[in-house]
Symmetry: D2
Subunit: 156 residues, 4 copies
Protein backbone atom coordinates (compact mmCIF):
# COMPACT_ATOMS: atom_id res chain seq x y z
CA UNK A 1 0.00 0.00 0.00
CA UNK A 2 1.54 3.33 -0.99
CA UNK A 3 1.45 6.65 0.81
CA UNK A 4 -1.39 8.03 -1.29
CA UNK A 5 -3.61 5.04 -0.53
CA UNK A 6 -2.86 5.31 3.17
CA UNK A 7 -3.67 9.01 3.11
CA UNK A 8 -6.94 8.33 1.30
CA UNK A 9 -7.91 5.83 3.97
CA UNK A 10 -6.87 8.29 6.63
CA UNK A 11 -9.07 11.00 5.12
CA UNK A 12 -12.07 8.67 5.22
CA UNK A 13 -11.24 7.75 8.77
CA UNK A 14 -11.01 11.38 9.88
CA UNK A 15 -14.34 12.23 8.26
CA UNK A 16 -15.95 9.39 10.20
CA UNK A 17 -14.16 10.19 13.42
CA UNK A 18 -15.01 13.88 13.20
CA UNK A 19 -18.65 12.93 13.01
CA UNK A 20 -18.24 11.00 16.24
CA UNK A 21 -16.76 13.87 18.25
CA UNK A 22 -19.70 15.96 19.50
CA UNK A 23 -17.79 19.17 20.14
CA UNK A 24 -16.08 19.11 16.73
CA UNK A 25 -19.51 18.62 15.17
CA UNK A 26 -20.84 21.56 17.15
CA UNK A 27 -17.95 23.74 15.97
CA UNK A 28 -18.71 22.58 12.43
CA UNK A 29 -15.16 21.41 11.70
CA UNK A 30 -14.68 19.69 8.34
CA UNK A 31 -11.48 17.86 7.37
CA UNK A 32 -10.52 19.25 3.98
CA UNK A 33 -7.23 17.59 3.07
CA UNK A 34 -4.61 15.40 4.65
CA UNK A 35 -1.28 14.80 3.05
CA UNK A 36 2.41 14.63 3.82
CA UNK A 37 2.65 18.43 3.88
CA UNK A 38 -0.01 18.88 6.52
CA UNK A 39 -3.64 18.73 7.41
CA UNK A 40 -6.37 21.27 6.63
CA UNK A 41 -9.78 21.76 8.25
CA UNK A 42 -12.31 24.52 7.81
CA UNK A 43 -15.31 25.90 9.64
CA UNK A 44 -17.96 28.43 8.73
CA UNK A 45 -18.97 31.39 10.86
CA UNK A 46 -22.19 30.90 12.81
CA UNK A 47 -23.87 32.99 15.46
CA UNK A 48 -23.14 30.50 18.24
CA UNK A 49 -19.40 30.82 17.63
CA UNK A 50 -19.27 34.57 18.28
CA UNK A 51 -17.09 35.81 21.12
CA UNK A 52 -17.63 39.55 21.04
CA UNK A 53 -21.20 40.58 20.49
CA UNK A 54 -20.23 44.10 19.41
CA UNK A 55 -17.79 43.08 16.72
CA UNK A 56 -19.18 39.69 15.66
CA UNK A 57 -15.79 37.99 15.72
CA UNK A 58 -14.97 34.34 16.31
CA UNK A 59 -14.55 33.42 20.00
CA UNK A 60 -10.93 32.79 21.05
CA UNK A 61 -12.00 29.42 22.39
CA UNK A 62 -13.26 28.36 18.97
CA UNK A 63 -9.86 29.29 17.57
CA UNK A 64 -7.90 27.38 20.20
CA UNK A 65 -10.17 24.33 19.84
CA UNK A 66 -9.77 24.34 16.05
CA UNK A 67 -5.99 24.68 16.18
CA UNK A 68 -5.80 21.89 18.73
CA UNK A 69 -7.83 19.56 16.49
CA UNK A 70 -5.87 20.26 13.31
CA UNK A 71 -2.55 19.88 15.16
CA UNK A 72 -3.60 16.52 16.57
CA UNK A 73 -4.67 15.37 13.10
CA UNK A 74 -1.30 16.35 11.65
CA UNK A 75 0.52 14.44 14.42
CA UNK A 76 -1.68 11.40 13.76
CA UNK A 77 -1.14 11.58 9.98
CA UNK A 78 2.65 11.65 10.45
CA UNK A 79 2.50 8.54 12.62
CA UNK A 80 0.27 6.66 10.20
CA UNK A 81 2.50 7.48 7.22
CA UNK A 82 5.51 5.85 8.85
CA UNK A 83 3.65 2.69 9.84
CA UNK A 84 3.27 -0.26 7.48
CA UNK A 85 -0.42 0.13 6.72
CA UNK A 86 -3.34 2.10 8.03
CA UNK A 87 -4.89 -1.06 9.40
CA UNK A 88 -1.70 -1.89 11.28
CA UNK A 89 -1.31 1.61 12.60
CA UNK A 90 -4.93 1.80 13.72
CA UNK A 91 -4.60 -1.40 15.64
CA UNK A 92 -1.59 0.03 17.40
CA UNK A 93 -2.37 3.74 17.50
CA UNK A 94 -5.19 5.30 19.50
CA UNK A 95 -6.06 8.99 19.12
CA UNK A 96 -3.27 11.31 20.26
CA UNK A 97 -3.64 13.30 23.50
CA UNK A 98 -2.72 16.95 23.70
CA UNK A 99 -0.04 17.61 26.31
CA UNK A 100 0.13 21.35 25.79
CA UNK A 101 -0.97 24.03 23.39
CA UNK A 102 0.09 27.61 22.76
CA UNK A 103 -2.11 29.95 20.77
CA UNK A 104 -1.14 33.45 19.59
CA UNK A 105 -4.07 35.61 18.57
CA UNK A 106 -2.79 37.96 15.87
CA UNK A 107 -5.92 39.67 14.56
CA UNK A 108 -9.63 39.75 15.47
CA UNK A 109 -11.42 36.68 14.12
CA UNK A 110 -13.39 38.38 11.37
CA UNK A 111 -14.61 36.37 8.40
CA UNK A 112 -17.10 33.95 6.93
CA UNK A 113 -15.01 30.83 6.43
CA UNK A 114 -11.94 29.94 8.47
CA UNK A 115 -9.26 27.51 7.36
CA UNK A 116 -6.85 25.89 9.81
CA UNK A 117 -3.69 24.11 8.73
CA UNK A 118 -1.45 21.90 10.85
CA UNK A 119 1.96 20.45 10.06
CA UNK A 120 4.34 18.34 12.07
CA UNK A 121 7.66 19.82 13.19
CA UNK A 122 8.92 16.84 15.16
CA UNK A 123 7.60 13.33 15.57
CA UNK A 124 9.50 11.01 17.84
CA UNK A 125 8.30 7.58 18.83
CA UNK A 126 6.28 9.01 21.70
CA UNK A 127 5.80 12.74 21.26
CA UNK A 128 5.00 15.02 18.31
CA UNK A 129 5.24 18.80 18.03
CA UNK A 130 3.12 20.62 15.46
CA UNK A 131 2.52 24.16 14.23
CA UNK A 132 -0.88 25.45 13.25
CA UNK A 133 -2.28 28.51 11.47
CA UNK A 134 -5.75 29.97 11.04
CA UNK A 135 -6.69 32.14 8.05
CA UNK A 136 -10.00 33.67 7.00
CA UNK A 137 -11.37 33.53 3.45
CA UNK A 138 -9.43 36.69 2.51
CA UNK A 139 -6.15 35.03 3.45
CA UNK A 140 -5.58 37.10 6.62
CA UNK A 141 -3.50 35.21 9.18
CA UNK A 142 -5.63 35.40 12.33
CA UNK A 143 -3.84 33.10 14.75
CA UNK A 144 -0.94 30.68 15.03
CA UNK A 145 -0.35 27.88 17.47
CA UNK A 146 2.11 25.23 18.60
CA UNK A 147 1.00 21.92 20.08
CA UNK A 148 2.69 18.99 21.79
CA UNK A 149 0.92 15.63 21.47
CA UNK A 150 1.57 12.20 22.93
CA UNK A 151 1.12 9.05 20.88
CA UNK A 152 -0.98 6.44 22.63
CA UNK A 153 -0.07 2.95 21.54
CA UNK A 154 -2.48 0.17 22.41
CA UNK A 155 0.36 -2.18 23.32
CA UNK A 156 2.20 0.07 25.74
Amino acid sequence: MNDEQRLEELRTLFHNVEDLIPFNRHLGLHAESIDADGTVVHLDMRDELIGNFQHGVLHGGVISATLDVVGGMAAMATAVLREGSLEDSLQRLRPTSTIDLRVDYLRPGKGERFTARGFTLRAGSRVAVTRMELHNEKGDLLAVGTGTYIYNYADQ
Copy 2:
Protein backbone atom coordinates in the same frame (compact mmCIF):
# COMPACT_ATOMS: atom_id res chain seq x y z
CA MET B 1 -17.03 53.42 46.61
CA ASN B 2 -15.02 50.64 48.26
CA ASP B 3 -13.49 47.54 46.75
CA GLU B 4 -16.35 45.28 47.79
CA GLN B 5 -18.92 47.54 46.14
CA ARG B 6 -16.90 47.69 42.97
CA LEU B 7 -16.53 43.90 42.96
CA GLU B 8 -20.28 43.50 43.44
CA GLU B 9 -20.93 45.74 40.48
CA LEU B 10 -18.35 43.84 38.50
CA ARG B 11 -20.05 40.53 39.28
CA THR B 12 -23.36 41.88 38.01
CA LEU B 13 -21.65 43.18 34.94
CA PHE B 14 -19.98 39.85 34.19
CA HIS B 15 -23.25 37.98 34.58
CA ASN B 16 -24.84 40.31 32.05
CA VAL B 17 -21.88 40.25 29.71
CA GLU B 18 -21.64 36.47 29.82
CA ASP B 19 -25.23 36.27 28.64
CA LEU B 20 -24.29 38.41 25.67
CA ILE B 21 -21.42 36.22 24.48
CA PRO B 22 -22.96 33.43 22.40
CA PHE B 23 -20.09 30.97 22.64
CA ASN B 24 -19.78 31.34 26.43
CA ARG B 25 -23.51 30.71 26.66
CA HIS B 26 -23.13 27.63 24.51
CA LEU B 27 -20.36 26.33 26.74
CA GLY B 28 -22.61 27.03 29.71
CA LEU B 29 -20.06 29.15 31.57
CA HIS B 30 -21.32 30.74 34.79
CA ALA B 31 -19.37 33.37 36.72
CA GLU B 32 -19.30 32.16 40.32
CA SER B 33 -17.19 34.67 42.20
CA ILE B 34 -14.95 37.62 41.54
CA ASP B 35 -12.70 39.10 44.19
CA ALA B 36 -9.22 40.38 44.75
CA ASP B 37 -7.87 36.82 45.00
CA GLY B 38 -9.18 35.75 41.64
CA THR B 39 -12.13 34.87 39.51
CA VAL B 40 -14.08 31.60 39.41
CA VAL B 41 -16.41 30.22 36.72
CA HIS B 42 -17.99 26.82 36.40
CA LEU B 43 -19.61 24.71 33.70
CA ASP B 44 -21.55 21.46 33.77
CA MET B 45 -20.82 18.45 31.58
CA ARG B 46 -23.14 18.09 28.60
CA ASP B 47 -23.08 15.73 25.64
CA GLU B 48 -22.20 18.48 23.17
CA LEU B 49 -18.98 19.23 25.07
CA ILE B 50 -17.54 15.73 24.72
CA GLY B 51 -14.24 15.36 22.90
CA ASN B 52 -13.64 11.63 22.99
CA PHE B 53 -16.70 9.56 22.28
CA GLN B 54 -15.18 6.43 23.84
CA HIS B 55 -14.28 7.97 27.16
CA GLY B 56 -16.87 10.72 27.48
CA VAL B 57 -14.34 13.36 28.51
CA LEU B 58 -14.47 17.12 28.05
CA HIS B 59 -13.06 18.32 24.71
CA GLY B 60 -9.67 20.04 24.96
CA GLY B 61 -11.14 23.02 23.15
CA VAL B 62 -13.78 23.49 25.85
CA ILE B 63 -10.97 23.50 28.41
CA SER B 64 -8.86 26.05 26.53
CA ALA B 65 -11.92 28.27 25.91
CA THR B 66 -12.90 28.18 29.58
CA LEU B 67 -9.38 28.96 30.81
CA ASP B 68 -9.13 31.83 28.33
CA VAL B 69 -12.41 33.32 29.59
CA VAL B 70 -11.58 33.07 33.29
CA GLY B 71 -8.10 34.50 32.71
CA GLY B 72 -9.52 37.47 30.84
CA MET B 73 -12.04 38.07 33.63
CA ALA B 74 -9.26 38.06 36.23
CA ALA B 75 -7.23 40.55 34.18
CA MET B 76 -10.31 42.77 33.85
CA ALA B 77 -11.10 42.58 37.57
CA THR B 78 -7.56 43.63 38.48
CA ALA B 79 -7.83 46.68 36.23
CA VAL B 80 -11.22 47.69 37.60
CA LEU B 81 -10.03 47.39 41.21
CA ARG B 82 -7.28 49.93 40.65
CA GLU B 83 -9.51 52.44 38.90
CA GLY B 84 -11.56 55.00 40.80
CA SER B 85 -14.98 53.52 40.23
CA LEU B 86 -16.53 50.85 38.09
CA GLU B 87 -18.35 53.48 36.07
CA ASP B 88 -15.09 55.30 35.41
CA SER B 89 -13.26 52.16 34.51
CA LEU B 90 -16.01 50.97 32.20
CA GLN B 91 -16.00 54.22 30.33
CA ARG B 92 -12.26 53.84 29.84
CA LEU B 93 -11.85 50.10 29.68
CA ARG B 94 -13.17 47.88 26.92
CA PRO B 95 -13.00 44.09 27.18
CA THR B 96 -9.45 42.75 27.22
CA SER B 97 -8.06 40.93 24.18
CA THR B 98 -6.10 37.71 24.52
CA ILE B 99 -2.60 38.00 23.04
CA ASP B 100 -1.54 34.47 23.79
CA LEU B 101 -2.56 31.46 25.80
CA ARG B 102 -0.79 28.32 26.95
CA VAL B 103 -2.76 25.33 28.18
CA ASP B 104 -1.29 22.21 29.82
CA TYR B 105 -3.64 19.24 29.86
CA LEU B 106 -2.75 17.22 32.95
CA ARG B 107 -5.49 14.59 33.17
CA PRO B 108 -8.45 13.47 31.02
CA GLY B 109 -11.41 15.81 31.47
CA LYS B 110 -13.63 13.46 33.46
CA GLY B 111 -16.34 14.87 35.69
CA GLU B 112 -19.80 16.34 36.05
CA ARG B 113 -19.01 19.91 37.09
CA PHE B 114 -15.84 21.77 36.21
CA THR B 115 -14.55 24.81 38.04
CA ALA B 116 -12.03 27.22 36.53
CA ARG B 117 -10.12 29.78 38.56
CA GLY B 118 -8.04 32.67 37.23
CA PHE B 119 -5.71 35.01 39.09
CA THR B 120 -3.50 37.84 37.94
CA LEU B 121 0.29 37.45 38.15
CA ARG B 122 1.21 40.78 36.60
CA ALA B 123 -0.83 43.76 35.56
CA GLY B 124 0.95 46.65 33.95
CA SER B 125 -0.77 49.63 32.42
CA ARG B 126 -1.09 47.84 29.10
CA VAL B 127 -0.61 44.10 29.56
CA ALA B 128 -1.69 41.53 32.16
CA VAL B 129 -0.47 37.98 32.72
CA THR B 130 -2.73 35.48 34.48
CA ARG B 131 -2.65 31.88 35.62
CA MET B 132 -5.64 29.57 35.40
CA GLU B 133 -6.62 26.15 36.73
CA LEU B 134 -9.42 23.72 36.00
CA HIS B 135 -10.67 21.20 38.57
CA ASN B 136 -13.54 18.71 38.47
CA GLU B 137 -16.06 18.24 41.30
CA LYS B 138 -13.73 15.76 43.02
CA GLY B 139 -10.98 18.34 43.22
CA ASP B 140 -8.74 16.72 40.58
CA LEU B 141 -6.56 19.27 38.81
CA LEU B 142 -7.27 18.63 35.12
CA ALA B 143 -5.52 21.49 33.37
CA VAL B 144 -3.54 24.66 34.00
CA GLY B 145 -2.97 27.64 31.77
CA THR B 146 -1.18 30.94 31.43
CA GLY B 147 -2.60 33.86 29.48
CA THR B 148 -1.37 37.25 28.31
CA TYR B 149 -4.02 39.92 27.81
CA ILE B 150 -3.94 43.45 26.48
CA TYR B 151 -6.00 46.24 28.06
CA ASN B 152 -8.02 48.19 25.54
CA TYR B 153 -8.63 51.74 26.66
CA ALA B 154 -11.27 53.73 24.84
CA ASP B 155 -9.08 56.83 24.87
CA GLN B 156 -5.96 55.34 23.35
Copy 3:
Protein backbone atom coordinates in the same frame (compact mmCIF):
# COMPACT_ATOMS: atom_id res chain seq x y z
CA MET C 1 15.75 2.24 50.99
CA ASN C 2 13.26 4.93 52.01
CA ASP C 3 12.32 8.13 50.25
CA GLU C 4 14.61 10.30 52.35
CA GLN C 5 17.63 8.13 51.57
CA ARG C 6 16.86 8.19 47.88
CA LEU C 7 16.47 11.97 47.96
CA GLU C 8 19.80 12.31 49.77
CA GLU C 9 21.49 10.23 47.09
CA LEU C 10 19.74 12.27 44.45
CA ARG C 11 21.02 15.52 45.98
CA THR C 12 24.58 14.23 45.88
CA LEU C 13 24.08 13.12 42.32
CA PHE C 14 22.74 16.50 41.23
CA HIS C 15 25.65 18.31 42.85
CA ASN C 16 28.04 16.12 40.90
CA VAL C 17 26.10 16.34 37.67
CA GLU C 18 25.78 20.12 37.93
CA ASP C 19 29.54 20.34 38.10
CA LEU C 20 29.75 18.40 34.86
CA ILE C 21 27.46 20.70 32.86
CA PRO C 22 29.60 23.58 31.62
CA PHE C 23 26.80 26.06 31.00
CA ASN C 24 25.18 25.47 34.39
CA ARG C 25 28.60 26.03 35.97
CA HIS C 26 28.96 29.24 34.02
CA LEU C 27 25.57 30.45 35.20
CA GLY C 28 26.62 29.56 38.74
CA LEU C 29 23.61 27.35 39.46
CA HIS C 30 23.70 25.55 42.80
CA ALA C 31 21.21 22.83 43.76
CA GLU C 32 19.87 23.82 47.17
CA SER C 33 17.25 21.25 48.05
CA ILE C 34 15.43 18.35 46.46
CA ASP C 35 12.44 16.76 48.06
CA ALA C 36 8.97 15.47 47.29
CA ASP C 37 7.58 19.02 47.26
CA GLY C 38 9.97 20.28 44.63
CA THR C 39 13.48 21.25 43.73
CA VAL C 40 15.29 24.51 44.53
CA VAL C 41 18.40 26.02 42.92
CA HIS C 42 19.98 29.42 43.37
CA LEU C 43 22.40 31.66 41.54
CA ASP C 44 24.16 34.88 42.47
CA MET C 45 24.21 38.04 40.37
CA ARG C 46 27.42 38.56 38.42
CA ASP C 47 28.38 41.08 35.77
CA GLU C 48 28.45 38.51 32.97
CA LEU C 49 24.78 37.68 33.58
CA ILE C 50 23.51 41.20 32.96
CA GLY C 51 21.06 41.73 30.13
CA ASN C 52 20.41 45.47 30.24
CA PHE C 53 23.50 47.55 30.79
CA GLN C 54 21.50 50.59 31.90
CA HIS C 55 19.50 48.85 34.59
CA GLY C 56 21.87 46.04 35.62
CA VAL C 57 19.16 43.37 35.54
CA LEU C 58 19.49 39.65 34.93
CA HIS C 59 19.37 38.67 31.23
CA GLY C 60 16.11 36.99 30.18
CA GLY C 61 18.16 34.11 28.82
CA VAL C 62 19.69 33.45 32.24
CA ILE C 63 16.17 33.30 33.65
CA SER C 64 14.87 30.88 30.99
CA ALA C 65 17.97 28.68 31.34
CA THR C 66 17.60 28.54 35.13
CA LEU C 67 13.89 27.72 34.99
CA ASP C 68 14.55 25.01 32.42
CA VAL C 69 17.20 23.40 34.65
CA VAL C 70 15.12 23.44 37.83
CA GLY C 71 12.08 22.07 35.98
CA GLY C 72 14.11 19.20 34.55
CA MET C 73 15.48 18.42 38.01
CA ALA C 74 11.96 18.31 39.47
CA ALA C 75 10.81 15.96 36.69
CA MET C 76 13.84 13.74 37.33
CA ALA C 77 13.27 13.70 41.11
CA THR C 78 9.64 12.62 40.64
CA ALA C 79 10.73 9.72 38.44
CA VAL C 80 13.43 8.60 40.86
CA LEU C 81 11.04 8.68 43.83
CA ARG C 82 8.67 6.22 42.19
CA GLU C 83 11.41 3.77 41.18
CA GLY C 84 12.68 1.05 43.51
CA SER C 85 16.07 2.55 44.30
CA LEU C 86 18.25 5.32 43.00
CA GLU C 87 20.68 2.79 41.60
CA ASP C 88 17.88 1.06 39.72
CA SER C 89 16.46 4.27 38.43
CA LEU C 90 19.85 5.56 37.30
CA GLN C 91 20.49 2.42 35.36
CA ARG C 92 17.18 2.89 33.63
CA LEU C 93 16.81 6.65 33.53
CA ARG C 94 19.02 9.02 31.55
CA PRO C 95 18.72 12.80 31.95
CA THR C 96 15.36 14.17 30.82
CA SER C 97 15.10 16.20 27.60
CA THR C 98 13.11 19.40 27.43
CA ILE C 99 10.36 19.24 24.82
CA ASP C 100 9.06 22.74 25.36
CA LEU C 101 9.28 25.61 27.78
CA ARG C 102 7.18 28.69 28.42
CA VAL C 103 8.56 31.58 30.43
CA ASP C 104 6.58 34.61 31.65
CA TYR C 105 8.71 37.55 32.68
CA LEU C 106 6.78 39.39 35.38
CA ARG C 107 9.25 41.95 36.71
CA PRO C 108 12.76 43.17 35.81
CA GLY C 109 15.40 40.77 37.13
CA LYS C 110 16.76 42.99 39.91
CA GLY C 111 18.54 41.43 42.86
CA GLU C 112 21.65 39.87 44.32
CA ARG C 113 20.61 36.26 44.80
CA PHE C 114 17.96 34.48 42.75
CA THR C 115 16.15 31.34 43.82
CA ALA C 116 14.35 29.07 41.38
CA ARG C 117 11.89 26.42 42.45
CA GLY C 118 10.42 23.64 40.31
CA PHE C 119 7.61 21.23 41.09
CA THR C 120 5.97 18.48 39.06
CA LEU C 121 2.36 18.91 37.95
CA ARG C 122 2.05 15.69 35.99
CA ALA C 123 4.38 12.76 35.54
CA GLY C 124 3.28 9.99 33.24
CA SER C 125 5.48 7.10 32.22
CA ARG C 126 6.93 9.08 29.34
CA VAL C 127 6.27 12.78 29.83
CA ALA C 128 6.36 15.17 32.79
CA VAL C 129 4.96 18.70 33.11
CA THR C 130 6.45 21.06 35.70
CA ARG C 131 5.93 24.60 36.96
CA MET C 132 8.77 26.85 37.95
CA GLU C 133 9.19 30.19 39.75
CA LEU C 134 12.04 32.64 40.18
CA HIS C 135 12.30 34.97 43.17
CA ASN C 136 14.98 37.42 44.24
CA GLU C 137 16.34 37.70 47.80
CA LYS C 138 13.53 40.11 48.73
CA GLY C 139 10.91 37.53 47.79
CA ASP C 140 9.73 39.35 44.64
CA LEU C 141 8.33 36.93 42.07
CA LEU C 142 10.29 37.78 38.91
CA ALA C 143 9.30 35.06 36.48
CA VAL C 144 7.25 31.88 36.19
CA GLY C 145 7.53 29.04 33.73
CA THR C 146 5.99 25.79 32.58
CA GLY C 147 8.06 22.98 31.07
CA THR C 148 7.34 19.67 29.34
CA TYR C 149 10.04 17.01 29.65
CA ILE C 150 10.46 13.55 28.16
CA TYR C 151 11.87 10.67 30.19
CA ASN C 152 14.67 8.84 28.43
CA TYR C 153 14.86 5.23 29.49
CA ALA C 154 17.99 3.30 28.60
CA ASP C 155 15.98 0.22 27.70
CA GLN C 156 13.54 1.83 25.27
Copy 4:
Protein backbone atom coordinates in the same frame (compact mmCIF):
# COMPACT_ATOMS: atom_id res chain seq x y z
CA MET D 1 15.58 58.65 4.71
CA ASN D 2 14.52 55.43 3.02
CA ASP D 3 14.00 51.99 4.53
CA GLU D 4 17.41 50.70 3.49
CA GLN D 5 19.18 53.61 5.16
CA ARG D 6 17.20 53.13 8.34
CA LEU D 7 18.00 49.41 8.32
CA GLU D 8 21.69 50.17 7.81
CA GLU D 9 21.64 52.49 10.82
CA LEU D 10 19.77 49.88 12.78
CA ARG D 11 22.40 47.25 11.96
CA THR D 12 25.15 49.52 13.24
CA LEU D 13 23.12 50.22 16.34
CA PHE D 14 22.54 46.54 17.06
CA HIS D 15 26.23 45.76 16.66
CA ASN D 16 27.03 48.44 19.20
CA VAL D 17 24.24 47.48 21.55
CA GLU D 18 25.15 43.80 21.40
CA ASP D 19 28.63 44.71 22.58
CA LEU D 20 27.09 46.45 25.56
CA ILE D 21 25.03 43.49 26.74
CA PRO D 22 27.35 41.28 28.81
CA PHE D 23 25.39 38.07 28.55
CA ASN D 24 24.97 38.34 24.77
CA ARG D 25 28.71 38.89 24.54
CA HIS D 26 29.31 35.84 26.66
CA LEU D 27 27.06 33.75 24.43
CA GLY D 28 28.97 35.12 21.46
CA LEU D 29 25.89 36.37 19.61
CA HIS D 30 26.59 38.31 16.40
CA ALA D 31 23.93 40.22 14.49
CA GLU D 32 24.24 39.07 10.89
CA SER D 33 21.45 40.82 9.00
CA ILE D 34 18.41 42.94 9.70
CA ASP D 35 15.84 43.68 7.08
CA ALA D 36 12.11 43.85 6.52
CA ASP D 37 11.91 40.05 6.24
CA GLY D 38 13.49 39.39 9.60
CA THR D 39 16.59 39.45 11.71
CA VAL D 40 19.44 36.93 11.80
CA VAL D 41 22.08 36.31 14.47
CA HIS D 42 24.63 33.54 14.77
CA LEU D 43 26.82 32.02 17.46
CA ASP D 44 29.65 29.51 17.38
CA MET D 45 29.87 26.41 19.55
CA ARG D 46 32.21 26.74 22.52
CA ASP D 47 32.89 24.45 25.46
CA GLU D 48 31.20 26.79 27.96
CA LEU D 49 27.93 26.54 26.07
CA ILE D 50 27.61 22.77 26.38
CA GLY D 51 24.59 21.39 28.20
CA ASN D 52 25.16 17.64 28.07
CA PHE D 53 28.71 16.61 28.75
CA GLN D 54 28.21 13.18 27.18
CA HIS D 55 26.85 14.39 23.87
CA GLY D 56 28.48 17.81 23.57
CA VAL D 57 25.26 19.56 22.57
CA LEU D 58 24.25 23.18 23.06
CA HIS D 59 22.55 23.88 26.43
CA GLY D 60 18.81 24.46 26.17
CA GLY D 61 19.30 27.75 28.01
CA VAL D 62 21.67 29.02 25.31
CA ILE D 63 18.99 28.20 22.75
CA SER D 64 16.20 29.97 24.65
CA ALA D 65 18.42 33.00 25.29
CA THR D 66 19.38 33.24 21.61
CA LEU D 67 15.79 32.92 20.39
CA ASP D 68 14.69 35.56 22.89
CA VAL D 69 17.35 38.00 21.64
CA VAL D 70 16.63 37.53 17.93
CA GLY D 71 12.87 37.82 18.52
CA GLY D 72 13.34 41.09 20.42
CA MET D 73 15.53 42.45 17.62
CA ALA D 74 12.88 41.59 15.02
CA ALA D 75 10.19 43.34 17.09
CA MET D 76 12.45 46.39 17.43
CA ALA D 77 13.26 46.47 13.70
CA THR D 78 9.56 46.40 12.80
CA ALA D 79 8.90 49.37 15.08
CA VAL D 80 11.82 51.38 13.71
CA LEU D 81 10.76 50.76 10.10
CA ARG D 82 7.37 52.32 10.68
CA GLU D 83 8.73 55.40 12.46
CA GLY D 84 9.86 58.48 10.57
CA SER D 85 13.59 58.10 11.13
CA LEU D 86 15.90 56.03 13.23
CA GLU D 87 16.84 59.07 15.27
CA ASP D 88 13.18 59.79 15.96
CA SER D 89 12.40 56.24 16.83
CA LEU D 90 15.41 55.92 19.12
CA GLN D 91 14.38 59.00 21.01
CA ARG D 92 10.96 57.50 21.51
CA LEU D 93 11.70 53.80 21.65
CA ARG D 94 13.63 52.08 24.39
CA PRO D 95 14.63 48.41 24.12
CA THR D 96 11.66 46.04 24.07
CA SER D 97 10.89 43.87 27.09
CA THR D 98 10.00 40.21 26.73
CA ILE D 99 6.60 39.42 28.21
CA ASP D 100 6.64 35.73 27.43
CA LEU D 101 8.55 33.19 25.40
CA ARG D 102 7.80 29.66 24.23
CA VAL D 103 10.59 27.43 22.99
CA ASP D 104 10.14 24.03 21.33
CA TYR D 105 13.27 21.90 21.27
CA LEU D 106 13.03 19.73 18.16
CA ARG D 107 16.44 18.06 17.91
CA PRO D 108 19.60 17.88 20.07
CA GLY D 109 21.72 21.02 19.63
CA LYS D 110 24.54 19.46 17.63
CA GLY D 111 26.69 21.64 15.41
CA GLU D 112 29.53 24.12 15.05
CA ARG D 113 27.70 27.28 14.05
CA PHE D 114 24.12 28.09 14.94
CA THR D 115 21.96 30.61 13.11
CA ALA D 116 18.84 32.11 14.66
CA ARG D 117 16.22 33.98 12.65
CA GLY D 118 13.37 36.09 13.98
CA PHE D 119 10.43 37.61 12.15
CA THR D 120 7.47 39.64 13.30
CA LEU D 121 3.99 38.11 13.10
CA ARG D 122 2.09 40.97 14.67
CA ALA D 123 3.13 44.44 15.72
CA GLY D 124 0.54 46.63 17.35
CA SER D 125 1.28 49.97 18.90
CA ARG D 126 2.16 48.36 22.21
CA VAL D 127 2.82 44.66 21.72
CA ALA D 128 4.64 42.57 19.12
CA VAL D 129 4.55 38.81 18.54
CA THR D 130 7.47 37.13 16.77
CA ARG D 131 8.48 33.67 15.61
CA MET D 132 12.02 32.40 15.80
CA GLU D 133 13.99 29.44 14.45
CA LEU D 134 17.42 27.98 15.17
CA HIS D 135 19.36 25.98 12.58
CA ASN D 136 22.85 24.48 12.66
CA GLU D 137 25.38 24.82 9.81
CA LYS D 138 23.93 21.76 8.07
CA GLY D 139 20.51 23.39 7.91
CA ASP D 140 18.89 21.14 10.54
CA LEU D 141 16.03 22.89 12.33
CA LEU D 142 16.92 22.48 16.01
CA ALA D 143 14.38 24.65 17.78
CA VAL D 144 11.53 27.07 17.17
CA GLY D 145 10.08 29.72 19.41
CA THR D 146 7.36 32.31 19.79
CA GLY D 147 7.84 35.52 21.76
CA THR D 148 5.63 38.36 22.94
CA TYR D 149 7.34 41.71 23.46
CA ILE D 150 6.19 45.04 24.80
CA TYR D 151 7.29 48.33 23.24
CA ASN D 152 8.62 50.80 25.78
CA TYR D 153 8.10 54.36 24.66
CA ALA D 154 10.02 57.06 26.49
CA ASP D 155 7.00 59.35 26.49
CA GLN D 156 4.46 56.97 27.98
